[in-house]
Amino acid sequence: MSLRAGIDVAELDEGRRARSYRIATTALAYLIPGVFILLPLILFLVQSFYYVDHGKEVHELTLRNYVRFFNDAAFVPVFLRTCILCLAVAVIAVAFAYPVAYLLASIEGRRKYVFALAFVIPLMMSYIIKIYAIRAILGSNGFLNRILLALGIIDAPLTFLIFNLQAVALTLAILLLPFAILPIFIALERIPRNVLDASADLGASAWQTFRRVIWPLSLQGTVVAATFTFVLALGDFVTPQMVGGTSGMTFGRIIYSQFGFAFNWPFGAALSVVLLALVLVALAITGLVTRRHPS
């Protein structure tokens, strides 16, 4: 009798401990992103309503930073140009990433994960070195031009390869490739083999299976890949400067200069808030597109 009671108390205790443990972990799960992500964002938001007067930050709430963004002839066109550029980056990156992810996903067995990692990890490393390498390849004295000249394919170096917006789009697409490959790979990899067999079994050709089964089932991953690359490209301020030549002015670059050169943090914060709003819109669109199919 007393033994049973003892057990019950222990079980109760156990339950209480488990519950408080769960509450603690949940609190932590909210607290950590709260402190490290939300708090800086809020501080940023607040700062975007301050302003700088003769090099001094004035802590007085005002909309002038936002008004300036929308009224200044320089900013809105750059903002729009940056949006288009980043959309192009997303499209190019996904166009490259899809076939790569497809090949990786079609490797038999566990080896595919090894291959995928082996393929993706080097792509994630040494960002600056990659930009340098791309410049060494595409410059007017670069490897590509030298090879083409040596082969007699061209008489004069091609100068349109680099230091323009197309070069920025291409370089960013290459740099962000792993972020596009991974979500697509995961989506493709999650399609059960059986479903593909079923499609073929029901008379579909390889192309029909792709179009009617593989593509729709990997669409979510593809949209996520495009969003990833779009958002990451938006935030990049190094690549445009390094391969964009005199036309490499993007919104990220303008924000960077507010912090690095102009020492106008409130305005930089306001521009960042504008960028963040764009990112949220992009994420919302992704959410809408990916929620269309229940699965």
Partner: protein
């Protein structure tokens, strides 16, 4: 009147190797047009492999597959007039039930109105009227199963391949689906090749059963044949608690066999050809064929002592042991009676069975 049915699909000496291991060897199988055949065997025996070879998902390493006498070994999967119902249904998660069912017609470029009509028919056939706009995730397991079936029959294939389609369902639903499948098969008059590793299911549903073991076929026959006339010890053991007694053929004549065993002589029948004197094997007696009691009058008799008796619902199971030779134990199944029979452990009596219920199985 018994006209030999036409052969639809035939496997000749089909083998399959993965690397060094042969998972199928020398398989010969003729599927008759319109029959319901089950493939029965333990896990890993090669059931799925046979199915996939017929369906065209994998190529045999040796031998050939024939359809109407024509070698189709090299025919691509999407051109074979067969459709498969996969074990986990393999429904397209992003398509509605109607789109899933109509898929085979869609990829063949059938007109939309036509597809809609046929989908409705197929859904009606599997009793899923009105489910067309749902997604697979919104269906129960049994409903998904029926969608998979509707999807497989809509193109009117010559053969439907089913790989343990009922494996995931609970017992009651399973029995329901067995009846349902059989009924549909009769209705659409299509050949079914149905994989299972449940003997009861195989026996209830099939016209013929193909028993597999370790990449080969042990026996093909009607449920009654494999049950009462197993071709070998493996099949005999596979179907339940048969009594098997070591014996050799003492004499084989037109009226039956005389078998010599350590527990005396038995008379048996066999349908197997070429059984010669001196051949070793087993005497097979089904537990329900044995009659207990001194009054009983089968040709084969042994004096036994009751070990124990247990009531298992409609049948009672009785364990007995030969008095003269205590290492011979037999299992007897008797219909249960409300009053019970007096089978006190330790009591002795005669156990007997008729010659027609006694079967010889070569080793």
């Amino acid at each position: 009147m018994d006209e030999m049915p036409k052969t639809l699909v035939e496997l000749r000496d089909v083998a399959k190797r993965y690397g060094g291991t042969e998972v199928l060897h020398g398989v010969n199988l003729a599927l008759r047009d319109g029959e319901f055949m089950t493939v029965l065997g333990p896990s890993g025996s090669g059931k799925t492999t046979i199915l996939r070879i017929i369906g065209g998902l994998i190529r045999p390493s040796g031998g050939a597959v024939f359809l109407d006498g024509v070698d189709i070994s090299a025919m691509p999967i999407n051109q074979r007039p067969f459709n498969t119902v996969f074990q986990d249904y393999a429904l397209f998660p992003h398509m509605t039930v109607a789109a899933n069912v109509g898929y085979g017609l869609t990829v063949r470029g059938v007109a939309r109105a036509e597809i809609r009509k046929k989908v409705d028919e197929a859904l009606h056939l599997v009793a899923l009227d009105g489910f067309g706009t749902r997604y697979p995730a919104e269906l129960s397991g049994g409903q998904q199963q029926r969608v998979a079936l509707a999807r497989a029959i809509i193109c009117q294939p010559r053969l439907i391949l089913l790989d343990e389609p009922l494996g995931a369902l609970d017992a009651e639903l399973r029995r329901q689906m067995q009846r349902f499948l059989k009924q549909i098969q009769r209705e659409i008059r299509t050949t079914f090749l149905f994989i299972t590793h449940d003997q009861e299911e195989a026996v209830t549903i099939a016209d013929r059963i193909c028993v597999m073991n370790r990449g080969g076929i042990e026996q093909i026959g009607s449920p009654r044949e494999v049950y009462y006339r197993p071709a070998n010890e493996y099949v005999a053991r596979f179907f339940g608690d048969n009594n098997l007694i070591d014996a050799t053929v003492a004499d084989s004549g037109a009226d039956g066999l005389r078998l010599a065993s350590a527990s005396g002589e038995f008379r048996a029948r066999t349908s197997l050809a070429g059984i010669a004197r001196g051949q070793a094997g087993k005497v097979l007696v089904r537990p329900e064929a044995i009659v207990l009691g001194d009054a009983a009058g089968g040709q084969n008799r042994i004096r036994v002592r009751i070990e124990d008796a247990s009531f298992v619902g409609p049948v009672s199971q009785v364990r007995v042991r030969a008095v003269a030779k205590p290492d011979l134990a037999l299992l007897v199944k008797l219909p249960s009676r409300a009053e019970g029979i007096l089978l006190a452990p330790g009591s002795e009596m005669e156990a007997s069975w008729s010659e027609s219920e006694c079967h010889f199985v070569p080793a």
